[in-house]
């Protein structure tokens, strides 16, 4: 029989998993009379599952307990990660309701896959065992491959899904091969144990294994040069799913990297030097390529895809700095990033720009028509660009400060120059929303179309706009109350 403590670990994972199993049943209903109710209850079930799991984890956070069950440890970092993932998923579900109705493709399996992916992420972030990490990785990735192609009436959806599947499979293979090599050379799947062995016996084969694991992660966070799948996959998927992938997947991968990198891959100074150099190069390339390519995009969604690549670069810098405060900054950054990126993707849904109508020209003048949305989206864009007093600024501030304190001034300069470039393309959204007038063709087209009704997506954008500012002003609470506790108590490597 399960003990209470073990149950405490299982429940937050089991609730979304149970919802995931329940949801496909709902889609069996073909009756035109009841379909509306069935759809509504599908979304309600998904939201209830996420809310239940969220409430459970927050209660757990409040009790300061860190239960574990086998290899799954629901420690503070895992709890914070769960909060992050569940909130992101809830925002995505709300946006999906509007998005899928606009595309005319409301199917039960979409939500079910999303719930499975959430479960995978919860497992992924709550363990230090490489095999369980791999299980989580697959459980989160495979549903996402399908989700990318979920609107399968569009040809490019299938293309993007296929691309994502193949590259993702390569990433998984790299990760698995690396784990096997590490296990072969150290005799353990536990990250801390591996780190200890590697620091005493730095073996070339083991280092190769560690490098392969790192490559797997760079795929998942879309770091250059493993980023090529990102724009196509995002473009193929529905906007909320793209937002979910860019925020939750990246965030979960970074949180696992926070477990792996300091404890396992840079346990000895020599290894730390090597891997940090590699990460520094990857981070620099990610920032440069991400930002410069984003400049040239004509579609808002592709721009956001490249922007999400560039944000992976800033986050990687936190690992390069490698201090406790830098990791705290990364966690803070992830939360700010969640609000601003979900807001940015949500804007497209809220304005009814689905399918291939994602160009900058489609946004023209819409800020004046929907001022609330426009202002919230502007706040999100300013936050993405790192302009104070939004959360995006403080996130960069914390990471760059640690980078400078650890002597990486050159990287910090590169980072601020990269974010200077990024200001231009984020502003293009603001320019289109407020500074430009809609073209005549667009106005004619808009008059013919039915009025865009996207109350839930609109509400999420407003919430995100509020959150980016709130996270900016509540930086002390976020850091001292949440991020610091998660980092301090979960990572035993820090002196």
């Amino acid at each position: 029989m399960l003990t209470t403590s073990e149950l405490a670990v299982i429940l937050p994972l089991a609730i979304p998993a149970a919802a995931a199993c329940l949801l496909p049943i709902a889609s069996l209903d073909r009756d035109q009379e009841t379909v509306k109710w069935i759809r509504g209850s599908m979304f309600a079930i998904a939201l209830f599952a996420l809310a239940g799991s969220f409430l459970y984890v927050t209660r757990l956070w409040g009790t300061r307990m860190q239960p574990s069950f086998g290899q799954v440890h629901l420690d503070f970092l895992a709890q914070l990660a769960a909060i992050f993932i569940l909130v992101t998923a809830a925002l995505a579900v709300l946006q999906l309701w509007d998005h899928l109705h606009q595309e005319g493709w409301v199917k039960g399996e979409t939500l079910s896959l999303l719930m499975f992916s959430v479960t995978g992420m919860l497992v992924f972030t709550a363990t230090t065992n490489l095999i369980v990490i791999f299980l989580g990785l697959e459980l989160l990735s495979v549903p996402l491959y399908a989700l990318t192609a979920t609107v399968r009436q569009r040809a490019d959806a299938l293309e993007g899904g296929m691309k994502y599947f193949i590259t993702g499979a390569v990433a998984s293979a790299c990760f698995l091969m690396g784990s096997v090599l590490l296990y072969g050379m150290t005799g353990s799947f536990e990250i801390i144990e591996i780190g200890r062995k590697l620091s005493t016996h730095p073996d070339t084969l083991a280092l190769a294994g560690a490098a392969l694991v790192l490559v797997g992660f760079l795929f998942k966070v879309s770091g250059v040069p493993f980023h090529q799948w990102t724009p196509d996959a995002y473009e193929a998927s529905p906007h909320p799913i793209a937002g979910f992938m860019s925020v939750a997947t990246k965030g979960a991968a970074f949180i696992v990297l926070l477990r792996m990198f300091p404890a396992g891959l840079s346990a000895s100074p020599d290894m730390a030097l090597k891997f940090k150099a590699a990460l520094a190069i990857a981070a620099a390339l990610t920032m440069i390529v991400g930002n410069l390519t984003a400049l040239a995009q004509s579609s808002v969604k592709r721009m956001l895809a490249y922007s999400s690549i560039s944000h992976a670069g800033y986050l990687l810098l936190g690992l390069v700095a490698g201090t406790q405060d830098a990791y705290v900054g990364m966690l803070y950054y992830l939360f700010a990033y969640m609000a601003m990126n979900m807001g940015a993707f949500g804007l497209l849904t809220a304005l009814g720009l689905v399918g291939d109508r994602c160009g900058f020209e489609h946004l023209r003048g819409l800020g004046w028509k929907r001022p609330g949305l426009g202002i919230a989206a502007t706040l999100c864009m300013f936050s993405l660009a790192g302009i104070p007093p939004t959360g995006g600024f403080y996130g960069k501030y914390m990471i760059f400060k640690e980078l400078i304190q650890t002597g990486h001034v050159g990287l910090a300069v590169l980072g601020v120059l990269a974010s200077l470039v990024s200001v231009y393309f984020y502003l293009r959204v603001v320019v289109a929303l407020f500074l430009e007038k809609p073209t005549e063709a667009a106005e004619r087209e808009a008059a013919e179309r039915p009025e865009v009704v996207a109350p839930y997506a609109g509400a999420t954008v407003l919430v995100c706009g509020f959150l980016v500012v709130a996270i900016g002003f509540a930086q002390t609470l976020m850091v001292d109350g949440f991020a610091l506790r998660a980092i301090k108590d979960s990572l035993h490597f820090m002196p």
Partner: protein, 528 residues
Amino acid sequence: MLTNWINTHLLSILVFAPVLWGAFLLCFPERQAPLVKLLALLGALGIFAVAVFQMFHLTPDPTGVFLAEHHPWFSVVGLPVDYHVALDGLNFWLVLLTVFIVPLTLLGTWNSLKQRAGAAIALFLMLEGAILGALLSQDLLLFYLFWEAMLPPMYFLIGIWGGADRKYAANKFLLFTLAGSLLWLVALLYIASKAGSFAPVLMTQAALALPFKTQCTLFLAFALAFAIKVPLFPLHTWLPDAHTEAPTAGSVILAGVLLKLGGYGLLRFAVPIFPAAALHYAQPLAILSVIAIVYGALVAMVQSDIKKLVAYSSVSHMGFVVLGVASMTVVGTQGAIFQMLNHGISTGALFLLVGMLYDRAHTRQIADFGGVAKRMPIFTFFFLVVTLSSIGLPLTNGFVGEFLILNGTYTSGFGWGRAIAIVATLGVLLGAVYLLWMVKRVFWGPENPREDSGTAHLHSDLNAREIAVMIPIVVLIFWMGLHHRTFTAHSEAPVIKLLSEAKAPAARPAPLAHAPEAAPHRQPEEAH
């Protein structure tokens, strides 16, 4: 009770009341624009009244601070950041200038904005709050936050309500300023992490311990951000575009106060924190500012657009500010502060007047005018007074500022001081040439014969509202010209303190440790 609370929280009220009031006005629908205008004007006047009535009651404490608010704010991951605002001799008159210019601008551009006037005015008030916040901040991160907070409102003012090329101008403005301030942020974080704080005093001490080369790099990063804002040649190219495209209110606040933040930051933070580097780079700064003075004047001379001409005259006049700071003398620095006030009033007034002309004629081309004096005598009178003050005619404010700066530069004791002062005087002369030539072509002579000319559209002279705006400005122009002590007395003690500390031997790098670098400020050729 209430007055007591206002007394102690005056500075926070000055900063946040405009921001909150602006945010409140943003909630009104577009058709309520007249009401929004009225409420905004009342708000701005209220802030001005509170500032005037409260600030003159204050007496400075021994350190020269009139009023301060100091609370720890946040200390995420290590470095403590304080909410520390203070009113002292250096920012006293700049704060007053800001709260003075805002209501005047609102009244002066009452009917200029046709579309979405309410939103523009709300942004304008928010901008006022951000500027006041930056002027009052004593903690460098707080200063940085307010410094950046000035950008979005100005960006939207140019980008939404600007002229034909507004998108380009707005983007250029934002990217130029951000380029400077982001690099400055890196330098700021570097020195802050050495000092363990964002307080300038601790930073000064931390800077002393750094190698001279590092100090110089950091100073350059600071100076770059401020020089872009001033703007100093060759970083000035955003300014003419921004000015030409911005609506009148935007131009006035941009010239009137926003640019001042550059000179103020240089004086308040860059020089005191890195005194040795400031001395080292005094010559290049002075040379660049002289180039700005002469080049700005020469380019202004060939402009065909009145507003663009005034914009280039801004480059020229703000060059004097940097020159005054670079002279590193009390007289020159006092002159720089005085010149900032001058420029705010004279150039701000010029932009207002050009705006009034544009509202009537819908053109700003000099060639479209001629003989305006006959149609608008009152306007011509005010324009001439402001122009003469901008030229620096004795008895007006412009003369005092330029004289102090030239005097300070000439007597600075630097080898280059005299030569540069002489060249800069040429700039004053050129100022007379381009401004008077413009006045001649626009106001005097026969009326422009073309039927669609600008002059033909001038049917009314200034109305009571516009005269009411101009009168306080003219009064100030002569007050500042005739009795400059009112305006320089406050800043004298802090400037003396600042410069004596900057030039004290302790502030220079130890000669033994940095023998090769210690000498160069006497042999500046090595700097290049």
